[in-house]
Symmetry: none
Subunit: 438 residues, 2 copies
């Protein structure tokens, strides 16, 4: 079932030639840091105020730009990264379920994981002769890929369900049970979480008043996991690096309405980190490969300019520096972005001005605030600037800062309110005449 608001946008959207660029600067918003004040700001500045951002400021004060502040999830809530992005993409995060584990897993090579598959994180581990876990990380072993290959060959199916292990890094990996059968991931972990304890049995998670045997799909999934666990121990018995596997966090890849279908767009995502790529995959965006950092993302954007009409471009670094509590580090990442902005949005790759933008609508915002003075995501609203070739606004914002965005034309938005603005500005959203019978 599509959430009602999304249904409506979907009914109103139409395909046009116009192009939208949606830039998410992760952790964009900040707070005043008392160590970085000035004459004008004796109590401290935010990273955006302190940084030298001539291009962002020029963008914000552009005659076709409008500014404001956005709460990606809802007023007052601190967004997790996935929830913040869901909100920005118009998917009510209070309605659509999307756990972080499942989203990251969704970035595995295409074909490996599909909608409805049950997935879990797993560790290769070391157990003693009584099946006590003596090392949950198997000494951070390095031959996970080899062991995974052996397991996949020796245990391709359990009780008719295809199983697969994908080694990711060191002892870590993802376990998949393909979705052909009616399984339910509502089962407990086998990972005891501490060394010295036995491997646990997977069991259906039963709410008070429910009977365990009523949960058929979960019982079947638990059986598969428990049988797999035993078989894996037989297969790995003679291995020196790890001799067992433990599982945690069973879930399914969520089945969300597809972004391009909902909005009549042909959308591409450009991001480096698994979470953002995974979410884009779940939303059915094309996820462009080949970038290892933001400069390479910008190159990808320019190479694929003709291929799509909506680009989601993700810049991770400001969030990372904010989380570190590194004010000047975050300032540098913002200045780095600023230096690349002309290459991102302008025909002229070294500067830009009136009429020079390559996209009909450009939005720049963040998925949450990560003030370095706090060193974590916070509930604060995030600066937002939208530039639209179609609309002459009357916004008077001069600098792309939290303080100036307070009095921007757009006011305060919640995440799910943004996509209609972008679509309308791109002339991709029909006039709303009222609900009519289909």
């Amino acid at each position: 079932m599509m959430e009602k608001r999304l249904q409506l946008v979907s009914r109103l959207s139409r395909p046009t030639e116009s192009k939208i660029l949606f830039i998410v600067i992760d952790g964009l918003g900040g707070l005043r840091h008392p160590e970085y004040g000035s004459e004008k700001y004796p109590k401290g500045m935010t990273e955006l105020q302190y940084a030298n951002l001539p291009n962002l400021d020029r963008f914000a004060r552009h005659e076709l730009s409008q500014c404001g502040l956005i709460y990606p999830v809802r007023r007052g809530y601190t967004p997790g990264s996935a929830a913040g992005h869901l909100g920005l993409f118009g998917y009510d995060p209070f309605y659509y379920e999307a756990g972080r584990g499942a989203i990251e897993a969704a970035d595995l090579p295409q074909g490996e994981i599909g909608i409805g598959d049950i997935i879990a994180r797993f560790n290769f581990c070391t157990i003693d002769e009584r099946r006590r876990v003596v090392d949950r990380r198997a000494g951070r072993m390095t031959d996970g890929k080899r062991l995974a290959k052996i397991l996949n060959e020796k245990i391709p199916k359990i009780n008719g369900a295809r199983t697969k292990i994908i080694s990711t890094k060191e002892h870590r990996g993802v376990f998949i049970i393909k979705a052909e059968v009616g399984l339910d991931p509502k089962i407990t972990d086998t990972d005891p979480q501490v060394n010295g304890k036995m491997i646990l049995k997977a069991r259906p998670i039963v709410n008070p008043g429910e009977r365990e045997d009523a949960q058929l799909g979960a019982m079947q999934a638990a059986d598969i996991v428990n049988i797999y666990t035993s078989k894996a121990e037989e297969v790995l018995r003679k291995e020196s690096s790890a001799n067992a596997v433990i599982f945690r966090g069973f879930s399914t890849i969520p089945d969300l309405p597809k972004f391009s279908a909902v909005y009549c767009l042909n959308a591409a995502a450009i991001a480096v980190y698994p979470l953002y790529r995974g979410l884009a995959r779940i939303l059915g965006m094309a996820v462009l490969d080949g970038a290892k950092n933001f400069e390479e993302e910008v190159k990808l954007l320019n190479e694929h300019y003709d291929d799509y009409d909506f680009f989601y471009l993700h810049y991770k670094d400001p969030d990372a520096r904010g989380e570190d509590g590194d004010f000047l580090g975050k300032v540098k990442t913002l200045e780095h972005f600023d230096g690349l902005l002309p290459q991102i949005i302008s025909e002229n790759s070294t500067k830009f001005g009136k009429g020079e933008f390559k996209f009909d609508v450009i939005a720049i915002t963040g998925d949450h605030s990560t003030p370095s003075v706090v060193g974590a995501h916070t509930q604060h609203s995030v600066p937002l600037a939208i530039n639209s070739n179609f609309m002459k606004g009357y916004d008077t914002t001069r600098h792309f800062t939290e303080e100036e965005c307070i009095s921007g034309l757009l006011g305060r938005l919640e995440g799910i309110e943004l996509m209609p603005f972008l679509l309308s500005n791109a002339r991709k959203l029909n006039k709303f005449e009222g609900f009519e019978r289909d």
Copy 2:
């Protein structure tokens, strides 16, 4: 069933050491009064602009404060006091039913009234030999307590349900049917509302298309009320001050989710008037006793500082003066509050400044506007200031007035959006990562 948004906040809340003070200045907001202008405001000032409020202004412009405007119920609606408070406390007033009568009754001595009990207002009255009401107020008789005692002794039960009458003032009182049996308060009044008419029979309230006899609980309640009415007339037959009782406004004490449980708080309410105390009781707050006016409320707050981590402090007087249309009177109540503010929020009871607050988060707002130029509650938004020790903001508000709060960082909020802000600012709300299985 908990409303979905409240469920979510509840899932994200966590207990911490931090303390929140939530001050509700009843009827806080005002409008420009043409008789009280100045050179700067030739068209008149609001009470907040006219009043001399050095402490409130200092609070609003404090480097850790953020301001805005709040619609306690929803944009455009004039809040009743209970609905406004419910909104501020995060209980959607469009979802949670709480009639004023039931709420006031909830402040009766604990043990008298419980969740699910049916209550009604009643009047002692005078009837003639044909059961026509000749005086609905029984000459504003003064021996209600004596008559109530007699009735409670002679009519302890009807049809197995315990009944009780509590005399409050003059001819007025509260009638209670205890909740042991499955009764429904959806019945009509027996009070004819005007003198000269017969006492009415209580009957189930039947919606179009419904059958009266389908409403078993309401039929039983109506029976009890009608039998009680007859018996009361027998008991009171020889009394000179009043010889009958009439009922109106049947309802139950609403069973709302408990504030402290929802938000992981240990909450106390400090208020003088029954409505606010009753609402706090229904929400399960500790309702502190012993104050007869606002100064004594402030004393209570300071005495109980160590005992709770959330304080709701209610100041009634500005609303009362606003309702009277008394501009200067309302100004005085605001100045009185201002003089007490240091004692309320500061370690130093005579002034305050940086780092001197006793609470980690302080919110000052109102449950509705009561402009003295109107003399009634209005739909206008209400000034809001939040101070948080945890977060450095970038709000530039200089004075706690309606006009300056327009350009505050918080923008415009609806009541139910406030609690997440307070909890997040107090670090009592986890990051929202998306819905995952419990």
